[in-house]
Symmetry: C2
Subunit: 434 residues, 2 copies
């Protein structure tokens, strides 16, 4: 089948998924979890095939060892994914929620109801555990999905998708053709052109992948290109907490998108505070980049050539700023609107920062690494959005829904509500007890 | 100033608008309403200049008379706009609403707060009354905006914008440069390329304008390309109501986007019912297009060559369908996901239709013409969206907001919440009384 044929079928399936009772979706999730457990050895053996080929590529120098790591699917990783699916079963159905109900007039009731978005196109790189995660989120939120994985994980991906598709086929009343896997770059390119079928594209992977997707589609894209997160250390910050937080934000998982990339130190902080903080970072293996004022405090690895740099590594840009206003201006100008933090004990200063920084996450006295759907209590996430429409920050089930307006009347026509003797609208909220 | 310079300033202004108290925004709205009233004669005289030039164009045959009508700004129209602004003052502030509040742990509180989108780019055609409407919605929702109007209304637009900008400048604490007007097609094209500044583009006008905008920008676009609305008359429909509703939906304002374009008649309806309904439409001046089965009932003007046709005129496509399933399939395939209606007295049939039709508005026994922000009780609308992300259907203040996550802690780091001795998350909702 061509991607267009796959997408057409998946889109048709999506119309049915929107009306599916939550109980059937939960049965489907249970079947997916059971099937992954039952076929674990088959899946892991497919993964070993991918890993063997990858090992050769690493040896030949054509694959980075970090990519190899992300390709690996251990029994523990698979079990974590399965438990994640079980968790989704316990969450309330995100579809069919009444978001607003208004009587426009007697017997003319407007109801805003949450519904699935429709057909999702998901493009991801190496990590094969993305398949069951995304598939489960799509099932729970009533969306159809076409997934495109990396060719390095082709065996694992194919095995996982077969198991999941078979599980869904067992479920009475679950629409056919709601979940698909495509493989090649050409197929992905075709997907991006199919705006008549796809409602949302979710790229998960490198900045390059996401930039490519945005450049090549008219379909809405959910994701983030960069994660250039900041911590601003205000004059009243607590040194001990600042040390702990900065080290966590920079070193706990340096390649994550919510990692600290630029540290802004207020010039009113005592020099000993500034030096102690930077020394702690150096001692944790962090390289520091900054100007002569920073160089006067500690040894720097070089100047900062671009303040919009995502190192994804144990490297850090450091700048001395005049005050909270300069910090906010710097962040709004050079940041990526992902997650930015102020360390302070001054409530007024904190409020300015929290109100004026234009980011999906604005933090006070806490590590930027908390920006994550699981940590936020969303159960799981399809990704983190730095866009400013639809969904922002970690996106869970709610971000995979939209709404429709249902209007139920008894023969009303607009002509009666306009002109000289127009009937007035009631616009009265319908009480939730109803 | 170039559009890039204007956009840069407006974007900077938008950061401040996000933190503006509702009282200041309401003072700004009051000043706008007062200024429009005080300068009404100046604005109407500018409009007369545009109308004189337009009259010549109509006479020369280079402008349609319908465009001329939409260009006209009467004292009554201006007063309606001013009253709309006053209405906005009474609505609650859409910014700063707490949408979710969760204790991730003791002293680690996550708050999801509504905030403005940022910088809006609005492109509209002839109607100058769009300027104060959109400006007022932008002010109330805390967004900055750059507006591009049609050149036919250049004098009126310039006059309106001057009055509004001066009104905003009087308001203490209202950020400068939050509202701009641009004029030429080239400036609009430049705006569409400025994805680094603009967060949302709202085109209001012809299908051609909207298609052009979607084709030429990477920025999120809110709007609808087509309005191909359907009414499906089920076997149990009430004839008298069906006649009233179909005539209203087709003829009450034929060029509106929520007008009926395709009528689907169930084949189980008595022939007399079908014929009477179509005769009523003919008697209201509607031309009917359809196949031989429709031609057997009444005189048709021709076959339907494309079921995705928006006539915007007193013309109607008519099809005989087998049942509700065929009606739903036809609508999902050929419709524009705008607003579609079932006429029925059968609750089960209605439920199928309401659940399975994938449109922003799904209606039961009521005219499609109700699809409108004012009629829905939203105060006003920036437009109607047929997209399936961010906002759908009539879009009012809420559709001009998004949210940010504020996380306030006391030194917490992620390292404490992972691994062997991981602290558990609480994920406990914070009660609203707090």
């Amino acid at each position: 089948m061509t991607v267009a044929e796959i997408a057409k079928k998946a889109k048709e399936s999506s119309f049915l998924l929107g009306a599916l009772p939550g109980a059937i979706k939960n049965r489907a999730l249970q079947a997916m979890a059971d099937a992954l457990r039952a076929h674990a050895s088959e899946i892991l053996s497919a993964n070993r095939q991918d890993l063997e080929a990858a090992q050769e590529a690493v040896t030949a120098g054509t694959m980075k060892s970090s990519l190899f790591e992300r390709l690996k699917l251990s029994p523990e990783k698979l079990e974590t994914v399965i438990r994640g699916i079980s968790d989704l079963i316990t969450l309330p159905d995100p579809v069919g929620k009444v978001l607003l109900q208004t009587a426009l007039d007697t017997d003319l009731i407007l109801t805003k109801v949450s519904c699935p978005i429709g057909l999702l196109g998901v493009i991801f790189e190496a990590r094969p555990d993305v398949i069951p995660q995304i598939a489960a989120l799509a099932v729970k939120s009533g969306n159809a999905a076409v997934l495109k994985g990396g060719k390095e994980a082709a065996c694992t991906n194919t095995s996982l998708m077969k198991v999941l598709q078979q599980a869904l086929e067992q479920i009475d009343g679950y629409p056919k053709n709601s979940l698909h896997l495509i493989h090649t770059r050409e197929e992905a390119a075709e997907m991006l052109r199919l705006d008549k079928y796809f409602d949302l594209i979710i790229p998960r992977g490198s900045n390059r992948l996401i930039a490519y997707v945005k450049e090549n589609t008219k379909i809405a894209v959910l994701g983030h290109a960069d994660g250039v997160c900041h911590i601003y250390v205000a004059p009243s910050a607590d040194l001990e907490k600042a040390r702990k937080i900065c080290i966590d934000a920079k070193t706990q998982y340096p390649s994550a998108c919510n990692t600290l990339e630029t540290l802004l130190l207020d010039e009113h902080l005592p020099q000993t505070f500034q030096k102690t903080l930077l020394d702690s970072l150096l001692a944790s293996g962090v390289e520091i980049y900054g100007g002569p004022d920073v160089g006067a405090l500690v040894q720097v690895a070089g100047e900062v050539t671009d303040w919009h740099t995502e190192y994804g590594d144990k490297k850090l840009s450091v700048k001395i700023v005049k005050n909270v206003t300069e910090a906010v201006t710097h962040i709004n100008r050079f940041g990526s609107h992902h997650t930015d933090c102020i360390l302070t004990r001054d409530a007024q200063e904190a409020k300015i920062f929290m109100d004026l920084v234009d980011s999906a996450g604005v933090y006070q006295n806490v590590s930027t690494r908390f920006a994550d759907g699981y940590r936020y209590g969303f159960g799981a996430e399809v990704g983190i959005s730095t866009g400013k429409t639809h969904a922002r920050g970690p996106v869970g089930l709610e971000g995979l829904t939209i709404y429709k307006y249902k209007l139920i009347g008894d023969g009303q026509i607009v002509a009666d509500y306009v002109g000289e003797n127009a009937k007035p609208f009631l616009h009265k909220p319908v009480s939730e007890e109803k």
